[in-house]
Amino acid sequence: MKESWIRRWMWFQPALLITLLMMAPIIWMIITSFKQPDETQSLVPGFIPDFSTKIDEWGDPVAPEKYHFTATLTNYKAILGARNVGWYIFNTVIISALTTIASVFLGFFAAYGFSRFKIAGSNDMQFFILSTRMLPAMAVSIPISWMFRRMGLHDTHLGLILLYTCFNLSFSTWMMKAFIDEIPKAYEEAAMLDGYSRMKILFKIILPQAMTGIIATAVFCLIAAWNEYAFALSLTSETAVTMPLNIANAAQENTITHGRVAAGAVLFMLPIAIFTLLMRKHLLRGVTFGAVKG
């Protein structure tokens, strides 16, 4: 069933419209990130950047026209020129990468286990895994910081990785179980007849079939670890500080820092946005089960 190109372009328009609407705050954020503090406060918003300040005949700068503003890189320089910023970026990258790998790896096995084996109390265990996500961070942050200090995990990369992995496990297990449940058991039974071991089945059959689910889970885990704020705030002080703390700090002073917050948000968003863009094929690829299903 092939749709004509007219039909395809007909549906293109609402998609474009909605995307533009959803993107509007991001576009405004990018514009704001190039503004000087006083321009972020003007009552008539500036949309159009001027790249150089105009000067009148007496050598004074002329105020930009209505809807115009003077573009500047000050905000980006302030964010990137802050003390230790390279180290914080390194921390964020290493912590979120290892967290993603650990939570997808462990979650994949657990999901397979719960999906394929009969386990006594399986439903209760799964509900326990889910319930670990229900407790507000407020309530566990104090006991956890106490525990971390005792175990020497306070302000270490390992501590944050362990904690974020635990936080992500409930989601990654449930999500991947939903995908693995969809894979027909007949594939495995056929492979077993051919003498495949369980592990070989796991890597040769389940892994490729569940790839869409694994990539989607990895994206979510990466996002969660990349942006985590509350625990990082209470569990780090120097060595393991991550970027979200640094950006939020830019906004805490009482000065006008809208431009700087916007610049921080744009910079911080870029790597993940690029990663998602690269992964879009995997996120969209159809999981093509044959007629065996059911």
Binding site: M22, G113, M134, G294
Partner: protein, 305 residues
């Protein structure tokens, strides 16, 4: 040549099963049960973290903290109102996220040009740090000079105890998390075997029938999974609500976690025991709601297979 019909080689099924699930269970028990025990202990004590009295020496107060949370005459049933308000937020935001996210997924599931780019762009709000995003929305919501009021042409107030404060949180939450529901719906839509639609075509089933009998039931498990996770996360909403509107007790955006923070942590002089008691009450409600949701999820699955 391998003879067929040998039992599976390598690790036994039992060993594989154990290696699959025990690492996860062990980690979760270590990092959840222990803090829970400590906070249960705190909830029975009058404990003020900023004072130098260690936890082990703070006075035992029994169920006082729980009683205070449930019926304190001078707060006029505020905890119940906080629960109600949070539940209203969960229903409104998760409902909107689901409807918009699912519709977007239906739209983008068609073969429209550049759909990969659309999906990637639409996912961006979800990839941003909620705390930072909320900070920026607060700037856009400014009564004077905020872009939103400039477009609306009227200086509305989106903060403090104005009725719009609640809707500001709704707008931001829907903006951030609709992509999440969209992505899960897309994954669900992708997993529907095409031959079902071809069969329906042969039977000349109407579009509505195809949607009602094929699309919806097969997407449902994925959609419900998303709803469960969004509902649980929204129930303990903190970052966005707190950044948008540093609410005091009794305002429209004082959701459960915000009031927890206000009671136990923000003003250091107050009693953390009180806040942890509240957290426990919240946990009971969340577990009850979670149980109901999972029950439905299971029922949906078993009906399908």
């Amino acid at each position: 040549m391998k003879p067929a019909l040998l039992p599976p080689r390598g690790l036994s099924d039992r060993a594989v099963r154990n290696w699959c699930i025990f690492p996860v269970l062990f980690l979760l028990v270590a990092f959840n049960i222990f803090p829970l025990i400590v906070s249960l202990y705190i909830s029975f004590h009058h404990y003020i973290p900023t004072e130098q009295t260690p936890l082990t020496q703070s006075p035992f107060v029994g169920l006082d903290n729980y009683r205070k949370n449930l019926d304190e005459p001078d707060t006029k049933q505020e905890p119940w109102k906080t629960f109600q308000r949070t539940s209203a937020l969960v229903v409104v935001t998760v409902g909107l996220q689901t409807v918009i996210g699912f519709s977007l997924a239906m739209l983008l599931n068609r073969k429209i040009p550049g759909r990969g780019i659309f999906v990637a762009l639409l996912l961006i709000p979800m990839t941003m740090s909620p705390a930072v995003v909320a900070q920026f929305w607060k700037y856009m919501f400014l009564p004077d000079g905020g872009i939103i009021n400039y477009i609306l042409g009227h200086p509305y107030h989106w903060d403090l105890s104005n009725p719009l404060a609640f809707w500001a949180v709704v707008i931001v939450e829907v903006w951030i998390w609709t992509p999440f529901m969209m992505l899960l719906s897309l994954a669900g839509l992708n997993s529907i075997p095409k031959h079902l639609y071809e069969a329906a075509q042969v039977d000349r089933a109407s579009a509505w029938f195809r949607f009602r009998r094929i699309t919806l039931p097969l997407v449902m498990p994925m959609l419900l999974l998303g709803i469960v996770f969004r509902a649980m996360d929204t129930f303990r909403i903190f970052d966005t609500a707190y950044v948008l509107n540093k609410a005091k007790i009794g305002q429209d955006t004082t959701f459960v976690s915000v009031s927890l923070f206000d009671k136990g942590i923000a003003k250091g002089s107050e009693n953390l025991g009180n806040a942890t008691a509240m957290a426990y009450l919240l946990l009971f409600v969340a577990i009850a709601l979670g149980n109901i949701a999972v029950h439905y999820l299971d029922k949906m699955r078993s009906r399908q297979s």
